[in-house]
């Protein structure tokens, strides 16, 4: 019963809240798709987490202050998102859901559900958890943020290395506490795959929609093929498919499998279109979310954004878009300087 309650709270904070929050970037725009709401919600929530966690870490504030702050802000944004949804009279579009054109989509969904079942019900032992998950369990146990060495339980002397700039383990600790104290290892190994695999494929679905507009059959085929490729990525431990399938609860895996492709999608939609499909702030949030997930994200996210800015300048000669893009990069550039100084 207790476990069921914690599970329900986990669903609330990790699925319902992001979907509600994800309505906000579309206030003056069209009704977003469910997948757009889901991924936009995470962009907003991850950005908030990064902005809240960094100062609290340096000020050595207790974890429960961060939990209350993040929880309150997320709830307020979610309620605002619900209000906007009701006011805009958003509809749930179910017609055509079982059309023949969507058969490939349903086949893809079966494969994705099989992947989720495997990741949730079976265990993959990854020794990197000794840092990432243990950082969360240590934080929860001592009510601290990056003050305890996860390997030993001793206190850090000085700055807890460059990982402090990418506090995704703290996000794990926070959502565990918001879910009535669900053990962070259970949250990481059982809940996160069930939540973040859908995030991965939501991004792929959006890429498919962009590349095959109006062709539902092709979109379904594309999604199925991406799921196939990921399922058979065990040929090395380095590729993004492998990271996705065996350790998606770690920030760097989520970066490689979901958020770098998402940044790619948003760069195309904002920088490479005559009329931007999304607000510029989502681009900045995508870059900031990459910074939260991993110290790699600080550098890699900025690199991707930089390449697209260059393409935008060369192909469209759009100096305004270029400058706006540079502004979106500022948080990761600042963190990048810190990262290089600390490393």
């Amino acid at each position: 019963m207790e476990m069921a309650m914690k599970g329900i709270l986990a669903v609330f904070w990790l699925i319902l809240v992001p979907v509600a929050v994800g309505r906000l970037p579309f206030v003056k725009r069209r009704q977003p798709l469910l997948t757009e709401r889901f991924v936009s919600g995470y962009l907003i929530l991850f950005s908030i987490m990064e902005v809240l966690t960094l100062p609290m870490t340096f000020l050595k504030m207790p974890l429960h202050v961060l939990v209350i702050s993040y929880g309150s802000i997320a709830l307020i944004l979610a309620l605002t998102g619900v209000f906007v949804t009701v006011k805009a009279k958003d509809t749930i579009r179910l017609s055509g859901i079982f059309d023949r054109e969507k058969i490939y989509f349903w086949i893809a969904l079966i494969l994705i559900l099989a992947q989720m079942a495997m990741c949730v019900l079976l265990a993959h032992m990854d020794a990197d958890d000794a840092f990432y998950v243990a950082q969360a369990t240590s934080g929860v146990q001592t009510d601290t943020i990056f003050e305890i060495i996860p390997y030993t339980g001793q206190k850090y002397y000085g700055i807890a290395s460059r990982y402090i700039l990418s506090p995704f383990p703290v996000f794990l600790a926070v959502v565990s506490q918001l879910s009535a104290g669900l053990h962070p290892a259970i949250m990481a190994h059982m809940i996160f795959p069930a939540v973040f695999l859908p995030v991965v494929y939501s991004v792929q679905y959006l890429l498919g929609k962009k590349w095959f507009p109006g062709d539902k059959r092709a979109q379904g085929m594309y999604l199925f093929l991406t799921a196939c490729i990921c399922s058979f990525s065990a040929y090395s431990v380095y590729n993004s498919g492998s990271f996705q399938m065996i350790r998606i609860w770690q920030g760097k895996a989520l970066l490689a499998s979901a958020f770098l492709p998402l940044l790619l999608y948003i760069c195309q939609s904002v920088l490479m279109e005559k009329k931007t499909e999304y607000p510029w702030v989502l681009l900045a949030m995508a870059d900031l979310s990459c910074c939260l997930l991993s110290s790699m994200g600080i550098i890699l996210g900025t690199m991707m954004l930089g390449v697209f800015l260059l393409l935008c300048l060369v192909i469209h000669r759009d100096w305004r878009a270029f400058l706006k893009g540079i502004i979106c990069c500022i948080p990761s550039l600042v963190l990048g300087v810190f990262y290089i100084l600390i490393v």
């Binding site: 495997m118 243990a134 369990t137 390997y151 085929m221 093929l225 040929y235 090395s236 390449v307 697209f308």
Partner: protein, 268 residues
């Protein structure tokens, strides 16, 4: 310098793809899109991005700068910026949708088969295991933690184990203190350093393990099940067997955890 950098980049490239067909699929996909689909605006942008990114990866001077930023050992992670899964799926889908409708499901099945044949699947490659704890750590780790905690009866304690066990102990239970973590991180200095090497040695010297563990005042010592002589060596250093969990024996220093208190426990 240039030749060496290119060689290194190629080395990372080969490791990234293993023995799969996917690098070849990626190249074929890029060529197909370049030759047949370059007029499509979205495809042009993707191609431009991918080619530019591959250039940045292989060009020695940019490779050198990036390696200075992120570290040489993890340079392969730059390949995460190449959306290979998306590009391969994009090219295959473009190819299929250009065919007659009755051929499309056949081609989809064929390509899925090719992907399955050219790659490797996770479950059959042994990446996943069944465990009996929700935290999804090795069952032996869960068992060791529970045994030690039950014996300690709410008191803080210091536990030492080999690399495999100590990597997951604090994932399962962060109230357990360790003298060092994975690869000796977090404190393998002095006697702790010696203990780290001894407990992870290819051939165990139980006398040395017990000696250093006693110096460090590790309340619990987790070792592979010892033979009779090895048990005597452990008992000579005041370690008493508490129980057996899987292939490990758990030993306690002295008669209770209160008898030996390490300064690492942070008690005044």
């Amino acid at each position: 310098m240039m030749k060496e950098m290119i060689k290194k980049s190629l080395g990372f490239w080969n490791n990234y793809w293993g023995s799969s067909i996917f690098p070849y699929l990626l190249v074929i996909a890029l060529l197909y899109l370049l030759i047949f689909k370059h007029k499509k605006k979205t495809t042009r942008y993707v191609l431009a991005y991918v080619f530019l990114m591959l250039f940045l990866f292989f060009f020695p001077y940019t490779a050198k700068i990036i390696q200075k930023c992120i570290g040489e050992n993890v340079y392969w992670r730059v390949l995460w910026l190449v959306p290979s899964t998306s590009v391969i799926a994009l090219a295959l889908t473009e190819f299929i949708r250009g065919r007659k409708s009755f051929l499309q499901p056949v081609l989809l099945v064929l390509f899925a088969g090719m992907i399955a044949w050219g790659g490797k699947e996770f479950y059959t490659e042994g990446y996943y295991h069944k465990v009996n704890n929700y935290q999804q750590v090795p069952d032996v780790v869960a068992g060791i933690c529970e045994l030690a905690k039950q014996d300690a009866d709410g008191k803080k304690f210091l536990l030492v184990a080999d690399e495999y066990v100590s990597s997951y102990i604090r994932v399962y239970d962060p109230s357990v203190y360790l003298p060092f973590g994975r690869r000796g991180s977090g404190g393998a200095v002095g006697a702790r350093r010696q203990l780290y090497f001894e407990i992870n040695a290819p051939a165990f010297n139980y006398a040395n393990i017990a000696k250093y563990a006693e110096w460090v005042k590790c309340n619990y010592l987790v070792v592979k099940i010892p033979n009779e002589q090895q048990k005597e060596e452990l008992e000579a250093c005041h370690y008493q067997e508490l129980g057996v969990v899987g292939e490990y024996s758990v030993y306690r220093l002295g008669n209770s955890v209160e008898e030996y208190r390490s300064p690492l426990l942070g008690e005044s």
